[in-house]
């Protein structure tokens, strides 16, 4: 089997080939750099014991849709198959540049602009509050506020479009 995996926060995709003897919980993996001898044992729904080149590696994992959250060596990795990720984006929503969406669930505490306003690049648009911390959302580039979809006191979440900025071509 060929794997091409996307790991959140990494530029490059991860490629390796895995050869598994049918019905066996063991195999060999080959990446461009190295070869790995693997065995694995499922402990429970969220727990896996992995042995890589003779060294044991406890793994905790949760699968949500096509995204796997994997805990390994004290770190948390968000992993998905790269092909799948190009088909639809069911992972963490990333704002298209001009669509302003909050990075975390939060409450709107100030709206600093109105529809039709001209804004500078980096100008504050909204202020959110989450977990007692205030965070500002600012314009990614100079332009015009095309739409505002937020009011003070409203609870918002990643993926909600709170504002839309139309670029002015001359300023970009």
């Amino acid at each position: 089997m060929e794997y091409t995996l996307a790991i959140e926060g990494r530029e490059k995709e991860l490629n390796f080939k895995l050869e598994v003897a049918p019905g066996e919980n063991a195999g060999k993996a080959f990446s461009a750099e190295a070869e790995y001898s693997l065995r694995w044992l499922r402990i429970d729904e969220n727990r896996l014991l992995l042995e890589v080149n003779g060294r044991l590696q406890p793994v905790y994992l949760v699968k949500r849709d096509d995204l796997a959250e994997i805990w390994l060596n004290g770190e948390r990795y968000l992993v998905k198959e790269a092909e799948v990720s190009t088909r639809g984006s069911r992972g963490r929503p990333e704002a298209k540049e001009g669509l302003i969406t909050p990075p975390m669930p939060a409450q709107v505490i100030r709206v600093l602009v109105r529809e039709g306003d001209r804004v500078r690049r980096g100008q504050g648009l909204l202020v959110l509050s989450a977990m007692k911390m205030e965070t500002g959302l600012s314009a990614p580039y100079a332009g015009t506020v095309k739409r505002i979809n937020a009011a003070v006191g409203v609870q918002v979440a990643p993926g909600d479009i709170l504002a839309e900025i139309e670029p002015c071509k001359e300023d970009r």
């Binding site: 905790y60 004290g74 990795y77 977990m131 007692k132 911390m133």
Partner: protein, 494 residues
Amino acid sequence: MFEKILVANRGEIAVRIMRTCRELGIGTVAVYSEADRRALHVLEADEAVFIGGSEARESYLDLEKIVGAAKESGAQAIHPGYGFLSENAAFARRTEEEGLRFIGPPAGVIASLGDKTAARTLMQNRGLPVIPGMTEPESELGILASRAEEIGYPVLLKAAGGGGGKGMRVVACPEELEGALREATSEALRAFGNGAVYLEKYLNRPRHIEFQVLADSFGNTIHLFERECSLQRRHQKIIEESPSPALNDGLRAAMGKAAVEAARAAGYVNAGTVEFLLDDQGKFYFLEVNTRLQVEHPVTELITGVDLVREQIKISAGLPLSFRQGDCRPRGHSIECRIYAEDPARGFSPSPGEILYLKEPAGPGIRVDSGIYGGFVVPTAYDPLLSKLIVLAEDRGQAIARMRRALADYAILGITTSIPFLREVIGSEAFVSGATHTRLIEDSFIRRRPPLNDDILAGLAYAAGELAPGKAAGISPEQPVPLGPWQTLGRWFL
């Protein structure tokens, strides 16, 4: 002794207070907001009273609702925890007016120490060293600007009404003052209901060292040594330890004496914390007194063997301290890491959400004061502190090793936490050498990514997870198991 105590807080500290109550045979009443119906502190209480909306001001900051809940449930005392109403003199006063005991210092003491500038004047008059700065809160930009010139930039804008880094801003030059004042005032108003601020000299890379004090109502005041809390992000502590690597016995004795003196000066009763800044010349300055249990109180508990919540309750019940200064001897070294729902790689931005999997570290010398469980949805309305991981070992080197091991064993899936960041800080040369100061995090630990090294392991784990049958728990070892390679392959030498 009390028969029932209402805990006016949430999260790990509410759970921790209830544990001591239960060990004292005291019933516990939780209060909870809309967002906290399934919170751990509700699950750990004997009774729970709903007090309103998720916004703190509709619930945990609404003192009338809380006092009402205490009366309604028949509690005889209220423990405020930290944050929320814990340093609110009006709350303490209302509690006592209703014939209930407030587990903390008297309202008058909270009020006088809560005014940070007045407190500083008081301590200065008692001969304690203080940082140069204003003695009165101020809101006029013009006046603040001229005072800042007198003190000399950089200066620190601080909220007069409370601590914890809220409403605090470093101002490097006159141009930054206006914006910083607006932000600080707004934050202070939201956090403490009081937007008043003041200015003081900003010390370069000082250490933050605080002393735990205990005072009963019979005039016995002692200290339980120091906590070093220099590691902060956004003026909030993230790692604390005791003893401080910066103190020798002489300095410790001098600061301890000053802390007891400060508590006496204020007429302090109950547990409190006297905060100092220590500069790189070994000179210390009185900063403020926190009139409540600190987040980081467990490191003191571990090195002294004293249960501080128990002492608080006993003092409020009118009992004298059962030990004297000479009986207190620290042993070993303790470190605490605060586990936050936040992403250090994105400027420590909050990361609320559902905890999809949780496994806490365990073993000798490890204590986890947790406010979460697997399946709990971390609400957006409150502080992002999930839990505290505290270790005790024979010396600092072993405590660091133990903390690294414990952090490496702490698995939380579903949300981003500060655990990998804490591992990096704890393992760093700067921390291991003990050369910590309050600017270390900003100076040396910026957005990080885990080493690329483990990516391939994560990828292999992903593949194995896809290949291994979904749920295998409960396979009896007595049952015949299909012969797999675990059984027949590998380094077997039989």
